[in-house]
């Protein structure tokens, strides 16, 4: 790799592109986020802590992060199976199922939420069969989980698919000639390449699920301290003109997501080092 000075001499436009990027980034993302962090401390750190540690906020944060992690974990398992089936096997309607994966991207989140709650409500298509068994999905915590599973699925499938497509068939063939069983080949040849992709997918799914609002509020029922998610609490505070409170919850969410992403990134780095 040649030096930066050399590159700058050869290809033009570094200054312009860099300037535009940093200006735009600062105006649209960094400045507003910094404003939120500052105004969350508007009434002092003690107030911030008080706003964040109230039982209602704690319950909401716990639900948001807990349900997101559970949903992302379930999606990792099924997302891997789906990606595997879509890439490796040929069956009728494969392309249609493949296209369907993008549905949560394409469907507006509010429509998704209303659809899911119509599906799982006591008189809905699925709800009427589940409710006699004592399983209530709509308007409970389970509903939050179901909505997040729906929202996060494409992130896993769409990160794993290209990696699976890219894998060299030769490695598997070599493993087979050396007498490895299919499961051994998967475990020792395929898994090390798949694991980083799965972790990336998990991270993206988690990040998206934690912040999800539109699809969750319609199915959650939004009972305070039971099925109320943190983003909803922010909008409630805003409607009460409690700007500092809203900013406090927002900054707490941001902080928690940051810590989570940091841990996952470190894990990712370790995985890649082991692989090498």
């Amino acid at each position: 790799m040649n030096s930066l000075a050399q590159q700058r001499r050869t290809l033009p436009g570094f200054g312009l592109a860099m300037g535009v990027t940093i200006t735009y980034l600062s105006l649209i993302v960094l400045l507003p986020l910094a404003t939120m962090l500052l105004s969350s401390l508007g009434n002092g750190p003690a107030f911030w802590w008080q706003a964040v540690s109230s039982p209602r906020v704690l319950a909401a944060l716990r639900l948001s992060f807990g349900a997101s992690m559970a949903a992302a974990a379930v999606d990792v398992v099924f997302g891997l199976i789906i990606a595997w089936v879509l890439v490796r096997y040929r069956f009728v309607g494969r392309r249609w199922f493949d296209a369907l994966i993008d549905l949560p991207f394409a469907l507006p989140t509010a429509v998704a939420g209303i659809t899911l709650s119509a599906l799982y409500a006591g008189n809905g298509w699925l709800g009427q069969y589940l409710e006699p068994w004592g399983i209530k999905v709509a308007f409970t915590r389970l509903g939050v989980f179901v909505a997040l599973v729906f929202v996060a699925l494409p992130f896993i499938v769409r990160t794993v698919q290209p990696v699976l497509l890219d894998l060299d068939k030769e490695c598997e063939e070599a493993a087979a000639t050396l007498g490895a069983s299919r499961w051994q080949t998967f475990r020792q040849v395929l898994w090390p390449s798949l694991a980083p992709a799965l972790l990336t997918g998990f991270t993206m799914a988690l990040a998206r699920a934690v912040g999800e609002y539109g699809s969750v509020i319609f199915i959650a029922g939004n009972l305070p301290r039971v099925s109320e998610i943190a983003p909803l609490l922010i909008t409630i505070k805003l409607e009460q003109y409690d700007y500092v409170g809203a900013a406090a919850i927002g900054s707490a969410m941001l902080l928690l997501s940051f810590v989570l992403l940091l841990v996952l990134n470190l894990l990712q780095r370790r995985l890649q080092r082991v692989q090498r």
Partner: protein, 260 residues
């Protein structure tokens, strides 16, 4: 497939059947079923009420507003995405990975927070609020606020697609063009752009999809208009968020068809 799959290179028939049925069952339960519900709910009363619903003035104005936001947001995202990708993929500089993570930042931020930050910055009681009021500029609860919140949310889509592709392609073709005496714009228009056009289109589509479907961010920037008497532009706004399911799903359907 041309050649017979050998035993050691694929799973046994039972495992295959099991995996396929698990995958299809999951897709069916979580993706196909909701899609069917959208269609049946939209067409429950037949085709005529469906057509009437999308012609209602509220629905039309909400639709127009959404399209207006997309028409503003997507070109800005495309422009910015190209600049960012050029700086990041074509050059190596200190702090490069930091810049990449900053560009990805909006992915990790809740849409609600992205609405909140603009209310805090530009709302009437926000940091810049008094200044904007003096100049009589309305941003929050109006079109500019919705555009800003949508920009924040859809910010990484184009840049991400382009950076991944341009890094993989490398600089060789641009260097070649340079040695042949091409100028900056010539290199970009004749060499780089043809190489990245599909990724650019895909990124633009993704950000348009997200812009059309975004609910959290936009509803925060406009949420309070139901409670407080703010300018009437709000009314058209509240339609985008409050518009009922059956009115909304028809044009969603057009969108889904477009996408596939």
């Amino acid at each position: 497939m041309s050649r017979q799959p050998q035993r050691a290179l694929t799973e046994g028939p039972w495992v295959r059947a099991l995996l396929i049925s698990v995958a299809l069952a999951f897709i069916g339960l979580f993706l196909l079923l909701p899609l069917i519900v959208v269609f049946t709910e939209a067409l429950r009363n037949g085709v005529l009420p469906y057509l009437a619903a999308i012609r209602e003035p509220d629905a039309v104005s909400a639709l127009l507003l959404s399209l207006k936001i997309v028409a503003i947001v997507v070109p800005i995202n495309v422009t910015f995405g190209i600049f960012a990708a050029w700086a990041i993929a074509k050059f190596r500089f200190p702090g490069r990975s930091l810049l990449v993570s900053l560009i990805d930042l909006p992915f990790a931020v809740s849409p609600v927070i992205s609405g909140l930050v603009y209310v805090l910055l530009l709302g009437s009681r926000g940091v810049m609020g008094p200044l904007l009021q003096d100049w009589d500029i309305q941003i929050i609860f109006a079109l500019p606020g919705m555009v800003l919140a949508t920009l924040f949310v859809t910010f990484p889509f184009v840049a991400r697609e382009l950076i991944a592709l341009m890094e993989q392609q490398g600089n060789d073709e641009e260097y070649a063009a340079r040695t042949l005496g091409a100028g900056g714009w010539q290199i970009f228009l004749r060499v780089t752009l043809p190489n990245i056009k599909w990724a650019l289109l895909y990124g633009a589509l993704l950000s348009a999809a997200r812009a059309l479907g975004e609910f959290g961010a936009v509803s925060v920037v406009s949420a309070m208009c139901a409670a407080t008497p703010t300018p009437c532009r709000c009314r058209s706004k509240s339609c985008t968020t409050n518009i009922n399911f059956r009115q909304r799903s028809p044009w969603r359907r057009c969108w889904l068809c477009l996408r596939w």
